[in-house]
């Protein structure tokens, strides 16, 4: 099992991450992945992502470990960028290596839902007219995360 967690300002490469992830073992049949990008529209120019150094890495590490246990992953990579990111730029990459595709893709959804609700990141929007605003948490994200909490744990 290889777990890799990184919070960074720099861009990442999916191709570069794969060999490291795949050290997780020959028994793996597939990688589920999600790449989040800055969604444009409504005059948005960029996002600035702030985080809580230390707590972020520890929460993401726990989310990865939980996904590994729950879905039997052979590897999990979670990279989250911080700083200023313009529309279209990648924000987050999740890679989950598993024996079969269902586990790999379910684990990816699980990690994303928990990242949205349990990892201490905050986004500030910057619009073309110069206005800025902190993004408010979406109730939909809490609902998405709660579907995994069948064991009654809040997170």
């Amino acid at each position: 099992m290889t777990i890799r967690v990184s919070v960074q300002t720099t861009i990442f490469s999916m191709d570069a991450e794969l060999p490291r992830l795949m050290q997780g073992g020959q028994e793996a049949g597939g990688v589920g992945a999600f790449l989040g990008v800055v969604r444009g529209g409504a005059g948005l120019r960029a996002l600035t992502l702030e985080h809580y150094p230390g707590m972020t890495e520890s929460m993401i590490g726990r989310i990865a470990a939980e996904a590994q246990t729950r879905f039997g992953l052979s590897g999990c990579t979670i990279i989250h960028r911080v700083g200023r990111l313009t529309v279209g730029e990648p924000i987050v990459l999740v890679l989950c290596l598993a024996a079969h595709r269902a586990a790999a893709l379910d684990a990816t959804a699980f990690v994303m839902d928990w990242l949205k609700t349990r990892a201490p990141f905050w986004k500030r929007e910057e619009f073309e007219d110069g206005r800025t605003a902190w993004v408010e948490a979406r109730e939909a994200d809490d609902i998405a995360a709660s579907r995994w909490a069948r064991d009654g744990r809040p997170g």
């Binding site: 349990r118 990892a119 948490a137």
Partner: protein
């Protein structure tokens, strides 16, 4: 300094913007045993603190020593207490 009951407080996102600082060290408020006691102490300050921790306190989230915490959770000298809005990463 041994024996002086000090806590470190961190502020993130719009809390930091409104309070004009990202962190502070302060003595553990007299008789404070839980996060809620610290919040009440901060809400008792003038200006933005009152608005952030009083009126709008319902949306403020908290972590103690980098673990999510509730107002009922205990605090002790040396703790790192962070206040922030609901998270919006991913």
């Amino acid at each position: 300094m041994e024996g002086v009951p000090v806590i470190t407080i961190l502020y993130f996102a719009w809390l930091r913007d409104r309070l004009g600082r990202s962190s502070e060290s302060m003595p553990l408020p007299e008789g404070a045993r839980c996060v809620g006691d610290v919040i009440r102490s901060l809400a008792g300050r003038e200006g933005e603190y009152q608005a952030v921790f009083g009126t709008q306190g319902g949306v403020v989230r908290c972590a103690v020593n980098q673990e999510f915490a509730s107002p009922e959770d205990g605090v002790r000298a040396g703790d790192e207490i962070a206040f922030f809005p609901p998270v919006t990463g991913g």
